[in-house]
Subunit: 179 residues, 2 copies
């Protein structure tokens, strides 16, 4: 059965640098009205770099919502109208210094469908060439290298919690190691 | 290297039924100031029900941010101070009618660490007993049953995109089928 709801009215609460917050009044299938809180986000691209020895490269950066550093795959938000793969290549270069000969799509991850329209496009990058790291001048990140097997264990044992990173490593491990 | 940043000031933009939106002024490691947009969320619990034949049960519901239905594991937000496992049991009963003899933690998933503090606690439920479905009166959901193998293929081929659902199925498939 296909479900739907009807938008009755909508107003913009906040327009920020990254997110826009809206409040929407909707009519449900039973005719009742309800208020929805929506966060609009431009979407993002994320990339898991894997070298020829099956090592993966993760970054650690301070994340304000958690008040601590988080271990993640390189990622960034899409510029307006930007191709997700182009964004993935840019973020990989900025945050790790790598360029890659091959990119494989690991699909989309929709982080939090209840209130936010963000879509993260995930890639795996192989055939890595190391260049200079040149992060955004206001980004402070550390690069960490792990065997894919170790990263996979860190997903399974709870050491890795970031959503896009879980999806990327759990999928890539299956593709690369027949896991 | 451990990274950090210093909060200089913070103000609340919006206090909704589910989310709170804040804007924070911070000082970075290089001394420069930057504005952060933060969405505060109470967190959630999600649960993958698996029966004795290795079928999993997913729900399909309309999701306003995407303007369409999305296939997901049963889930809901935490009430204030609520134990995540208690929330998982409640959502499983409300959305599928199942109760379960056994619950296994599949860890935490942090959906979108850049701007939101949401933590989703993920469980697998086994030893299912079917009861009555009694969803929240304003929820409209359909229950769908898939062999775990099929659900896993739907994760790998891009048919399943919801973040918590990807994490749950990719982890459970490994645990249950030695995948």
């Amino acid at each position: 059965m296909e479900h739907t709801e009807k938008t009755l009215s909508e107003n913009t609460i906040f327009t920020g640098r990254i997110i826009t917050v809206k409040q929407r009044q909707v009519q449900l299938e039973n005719g009742r009205q309800r208020s929805r809180e929506l966060v609009l986000h431009p979407g993002g691209a994320a990339v898991l770099p894997v070298d020829e020895d099956n090592n993966v490269y993760l970054i650690r950066q301070f994340r304000a919502p958690f008040g601590r550093t988080v271990l993640e795959i390189p990622a960034g938000k899409l510029e307006k109208g930007e191709d997700p793969l182009a964004a993935a290549k840019r973020e990989l270069a900025e945050e790790t210094g790598f360029s890659a000969a091959h990119y494989f799509s690991l699909g989309q991850m929709w982080p939090t469908v209840g209130f936010c329209d963000e879509i993260i496009h995930i890639y795996m990058a192989a055939g890595l060439t190391k260049g200079e790291i040149h992060p955004d001048e206001d980004e402070f990140i550390s690069l960490e290298k792990y065997p894919l097997e170790t990263a996979w264990n860190m997903c399974m044992d709870g050491s890795i919690t970031d959503g896009k990173t879980l999806t990327a490593i759990l999928k890539a491990a299956r593709l690369l190691k027949n896991r």
